[in-house]
Subunit: 153 residues, 2 copies
């Protein structure tokens, strides 16, 4: 592998926070890729944490998460937005899909209004639903499941 | 949002397929980000599908997946590697973490030897374990859970 390689991603849409819920607006050229998405209950939204797309944020490798004070944690062991590649991923509940208009309405997401979207992936239990998942002891009071409406800000 | 924007990602490591299992080799500068990862049972590996990083693959928006012949499906409703941004994500079972050597040994992954890694995210059930996930009727015979060893090639 060439360690100097750079991979290029383009936005395929934008996150818009509404009064109720959140709308993913997909750019017109990419709307055919939404076909059949309405048959899934959930979608994983890959978004670009653009406010952390700078040298300073991208060089943060360890943190003391608010939920684990005093424990130095590598960013790969967190879901922090600041990381070497500021790509974030949120599993979201689908409320409605309108391919013609380019809308995917979801219940919630932990991203700011205007955030660029770089990919959508339908949630397949066979890929991502882990029966026996364990987390560190100091997180043991966290829920075993995603909240019904997903995670917000 | 600027539709002409381009986001830049760099490799943080490489996937190496071994005789038994798979080793994620993390580049030296990023190894501090692995701290505490050994306390999680699973990790989501974001990898760059480099053989599909070309104009032809990136312009494929719909497909007829082998598991759903005759059904035209948008790539956002699949986990296909060919998509506008060829970023793939696989949930993997962690077997061992060696931060000093930069190794994360996992049971399986559906990526070829030599594939670049762009991010690791610890698997948090509160983020990604969906209690009531539904998929299209024509996939209803698929498992409700990820296989214990994960998905391979």
């Amino acid at each position: 592998m060439n360690e100097e390689a750079v991979f290029r991603m383009v936005p395929i849409g934008t996150i818009h926070r509404l009064d109720q819920g959140v709308r993913l607006e997909i750019l017109e050229p990419y709307r055919p890729a939404m076909q059949q998405l309405e048959h899934f209950s959930h979608v994983m939204v890959l978004w670009w944490a653009d406010r952390h797309d700078n040298e300073q944020s991208r060089s943060i490798l360890q943190t003391e998460p608010p939920y684990a004070q005093g424990r130095v944690t590598g960013v790969f062991a967190t879901r922090a937005e600041y990381r070497p590649n500021p790509i974030a991923m949120t599993t979201c509940k689908i409320r409605n899909v309108d391919q013609e208009q380019g809308y995917v309405d979801i219940a919630e997401i932990d991203a700011l209004d205007g955030t660029p979207i770089v990919d959508l992936k339908a949630y397949f239990p066979v890929c991502d639903r882990v029966r026996d998942a364990s987390i560190p002891e100091w997180l043991s009071d966290w829920p075993d499941w995603m909240p019904d409406e997903g995670l917000g800000l």
